[in-house]
């Protein structure tokens, strides 16, 4: 039982009045020296016991009267009955934003702490038999527990370790997960509570009118769940963060300088001067740079470092702290190799420089060698004529590049397939000489072959038309992320006049990027333990001017190093993504150990996936360096996990805008647990109990009068 107006409960203390009167009456006893004792004794003999019972009953009634009156005025809400099975049970799904912004320190505890406390109290207040599920909405939404729990006291415990380190909250996905959780709910009353700091970055679109289809469909369900938007506050407005750390190369040779491009962003209105930025390699501080970051602006720095040992190295940057320190650091992994050996099979060698099909590639891969510079190239290329290619050429090579090769016959063809199956990388560049029917029949072989897709034909633009260009969008392929920043090179300057078009089948085939006409330029497919990337256009200037662009050098280098570092992972991952290793010759029963940044080790079992074996950890939960190694081996592979920089902008959505979102979806906005409780009670108005108490009060009043009269009459 709870009370809406609990202050008035104090009135119940008035029960002391009749009790005190009674006690005083008994205390201030008059002594009567009495003669007619035998008459009294006669009376007492007749009715002593009954009188005593009635007296107590009357006193009890008089004591109860003020108590019940006070309870009636305090507007009791019945919760005791809710604990009976089937009464007031609720299926509650809490969408808890565990994105990094919920971690911002605040006077009343971080928003995450506030949310945990509120959830604890919510579960305490829920009637027995209710079930609760929590959807952690940061990054990719996931449920906290496998299924809704009716053990309400376990929910806060399960929530105990959850840290707010995930990426941006995707509201629609979160509602989808909530809907899925609710669809299994058995209770009639349903409720979804969205607990978030309503960071602008995550919610602005919805405030401006973007729809939340998942929520809308939830609202069409019967019974309709009650929607509550629970806004959690933080009082931080100033924040500095590392917005990005990009490496110029994923794989580097020993001593080859790796460039790191760091963006430092100031999300507040204060100018930060002379902030120390440290460059760290494998946790050791290398040098300090002082930077000044303008209010609401950003600073980009380029730093370089050369590692002189082969292996996985972590290159990191760290800012001297503001109060939210977790987003002041970022790391990336550089794979340092002796060298990458690439074999270029030229299908159409030229007689003059740069006239052959593969000349641009050769130049792009080993610019230092070609110019006889002192610097070291990572990729050592060997170029052979397609007609002179023999299987021993493949020995010691990590990547094979086919440039405008018409066809591969007999053993040469099977050698290439075997090479890829065993973990090699293959880059197939198209050109005017390729035999499309052979490519489709033997090389693609209905998906069985190494070539990623069947060739449909040629796409082209007329001489008078505008040439096709690369569709500029946010690239997600690890080899391409470098180009998301314009400083990585201007891909959009490349013009395309002719290209081949593919008919792509299956989920395995991924597009690296496409033309604005819609046709993909590069596609990738895993094959065996290796990978194949196919290009739709020529590697010389016949079909496109891409090879003439500056950007061609990093593009080809990145593609080759990507192919050469099979399973080497990406430079950096974001919190929430799993750590994943592909095994070249795994059986599927290997056991790996993953060491997280805190030093905790968990076992990860390898599993078969498609044609290979992968080891994939659970989604990572905190930023830092992870190490994965086979249980009985000492050779570890390293992974850098960074926070999602989008979460560093802590600016919340104005309350009125959150209200707007809430109203549009028939929800209510609350800002504190008390407000939530009031709302919850008003929703459960039907179980208010004051009427019953009033009836009890009247009955008691009548009873008291009757009993008093009866006693007086007796």
């Amino acid at each position: 039982m709870t009370f809406l107006n609990s202050i008035l409960l104090a009135g119940a203390a008035a029960f002391l009045i009749p009790l005190i009167i009674h006690l005083l009456n008994r205390r201030r006893i008059a002594v009567v020296r009495w003669g007619a004792m035998h008459l009294l004794q006669e009376v007492i003999k007749q009715k002593k016991r009954r009188v005593r019972v009635e007296q107590w009953l009357l006193l009890l009634m008089r004591i109860l009267l003020p108590i019940i009156l006070a309870m009636c005025l305090a507007r009791p809400v019945l919760t005791a009955l809710r604990s009976l099975p089937g009464f007031g049970k609720t299926s509650l799904v809490v969408i808890l934003d565990d994105s990094f912004s919920m971690r911002a320190p605040s006077s009343g505890g971080s928003p995450m702490d506030q949310a945990k406390a509120a959830i604890q109290r919510m579960t305490e207040e829920l009637p027995r038999g209710s079930d609760v599920q929590i959807v952690l909405a940061g990054g990719s939404p996931r449920t906290l527990m496998e299924q809704s729990s009716i053990a309400l006291d376990l929910v806060p415990k399960a929530l105990g370790d959850t840290q707010a380190l995930a990426g941006p909250m995707s509201a629609n996905d979160a509602f989808q997960a909530a809907a899925a959780a609710l669809s299994k709910a058995t209770n009639g009353a349903r409720e979804i509570v969205v607990m978030s700091d309503f960071q602008q970055a995550d919610w602005k679109a919805f405030a401006e009118g973007a729809s939340l289809p998942a929520l809308e469909s939830v609202l069409k369900q019967e019974p309709k769940p009650a929607i509550t938007f629970y806004r959690l506050d933080n009082d931080i407005t100033e924040n500095l963060s590392i917005a990005s750390l990009e490496l110029s190369a994923l794989v580097a040779a020993e001593g080859q300088p790796v460039g790191a491009r760091v963006r430092v962003k100031n999300h507040g209105k204060r100018l930060w001067q002379d902030v120390a930025l440290y460059l760290e390699a494998d946790g050791t501080r290398l040098r300090t740079t002082r930077i000044t970051v303008p209010a609401e602006g950003e600073v980009t720095l380029s730093l370089t470092h050369a590692f002189d040992k082969v292996g996985d190295h972590a290159l990191g940057v760290r800012l001297e702290g503001d109060s939210l320190t977790e987003d002041n650091a970022a790391q990336a992994i550089v794979h340092v190799r002796h060298q990458i050996n690439a074999l270029i099979i030229d299908g159409h060698p030229g007689n003059e420089p740069l006239s052959g099909a593969a000349d641009f590639i050769e130049l792009a891969l080993s610019p230092n060698m070609a110019t006889a510079a002192d610097s070291k190239d990572l990729v050592i290329t060997t170029k052979v004529d397609e007609r002179r290619f023999r299987d021993e050429d493949l020995r010691g090579k990590e990547v094979v590049i086919l440039a405008d090769v018409e066809r591969l016959q007999g053993k040469r063809f099977t050698d290439i397939e075997k090479f890829v199956k065993e973990g090699g990388g293959l880059l197939v560049i198209a050109g005017p000489d390729i035999d499309q029917s052979w490519y489709n029949r033997d090389f693609y072989r209905n998906g069985q072959g190494v070539y990623p897709a069947a060739i449909k034909g040629l796409g082209s633009v007329g001489p008078a038309d505008n040439p096709a260009r690369i569709l500029m969008q946010r690239f997600t392929h690890p080899a391409m992320t470098y180009f998301n920043d314009a400083r990585g090179g201007r891909l959009q300057d490349a013009e395309f006049r002719t290209w081949i078009t593919w008919e792509m089948k299956g989920d395995e085939v991924k597009t690296l990027f496409s033309l604005d006409r819609g046709a993909p330029v590069f596609i990738e497919k895993p094959f065996g333990r290796g990978r194949v990337i196919a290009g739709a256009t020529s590697a010389n200037s016949e079909w496109t001017n891409l090879p003439l662009q500056m950007v061609f050098v990093p593009l080809i280098q990145r593609l080759v190093s990507h192919l050469a570092t099979q399973g080497a992972g990406e430079a950096a991952l974001l919190v929430g993504q799993p750590v994943r290793v592909g095994l070249k010759d795994g059986k599927g029963d290997e056991v790996f150990e993953l060491t997280d940044p805190t030093g905790k080790t968990t076992e990860v079992k390898a599993r078969k996936e498609n044609n290979g074996v992968v080891v994939e950890s659970a989604p990572t939960r905190e930023p830092g360096l992870y190490e994965m190694k086979a249980k009985d081996s000492s050779e570890a592979q390293r992974f850098a996990i960074n926070l999602n920089p989008a979460e560093s902008d802590l600016k919340p959505l104005a309350e009125s805008e959150v209200e707007k979102i809430a109203t549009r979806h028939e929800g209510m906005l609350v800002r504190s647990f008390d407000a939530y409780q009031r709302l919850d009670r008003s929703r459960r108005h039907g179980t208010e109990m004051w009427q019953a108490f009033l009836i009890a009060l009247l009955v008691l009043l009548f009873g008291e009068v009757l009993l008093a009269q009866r006693i007086a009459r007796a």
Partner: protein
Amino acid sequence: MAQISDILHAEDITPLQHLQLFARTVMEGFTTGQHASPHKGFSVEFRQHRPYVQGDEIRRLDWKIFGRSDRFYIREYDEETNLRATIVLDASGSMGYTGQGGINKFDYARKLAASLAYLLMSQQDAVGLVTFDTKIRDIVPNRTRITHLHHLLECMVKTEPGQETSLSGVLESLAGRLKRRGLIILISDFFDDANALMRAVGILRRKGHELLVFQLWDRDELEFPFSRWSRFENLEQDEDHLMLDPVVIRQSYLKVLAEFRQTLKTNMLKSEVDVVEMTTDQPHAIALKEYLALRMRR
């Protein structure tokens, strides 16, 4: 030591003197009318003449004077009566009750007894006094001398209420002691076993005694006006007490009380004894007058 004047004040006596004539006529009425006198010769001594007032008996007019003076005079006599009156005064603990009116029942009873004694003595009746509680405490024998009144009053003064009531036992033993028939005036609250009491009354009646019963009540005992939680302590037994809320039992008490009074009255009537109930807030004279009037009507 209490003084006699404590009991019998001048202002108490005055109304008694007014009553005298009234009383005497009444007494005469019942002593001569109802009791067969054991004595012969019934001597009468002239005292004075006084003018006739309306209501005097015609037969007592002095016709001689009327013949001489043409005025009506009444001859008054000092009578020698055959009445031996014994006042039996209850001095038990329950008579010690002092009500909210501040009047002690025993005091009242004493005054009543004194008034009666005075009245009777002034009529030359032989008055005796018996005080008792569980047993007879004092006996003052019947005398007619006017100085005897002093003895009576002295005895009353020294008596204080004390023990339990055992009226029936007292009456029974009294029946043995009183050799000659006479009037027994019983002043008590009759808080005793009703059956035993009636048996004793029966014995007295059979011996030819006339009984006159004054039942004394305090207003509190009749109305039970208490409202606060009270500890009722037995006046007759020190240890005995009851703790109760008077309001709660008032109605029952009144019912039990009415039954008690009714039983006493009915039983007394069966033995042809009149019960005069008196409350301590009534003046004695009124009480006596009412009784005497009652006797007259019989």
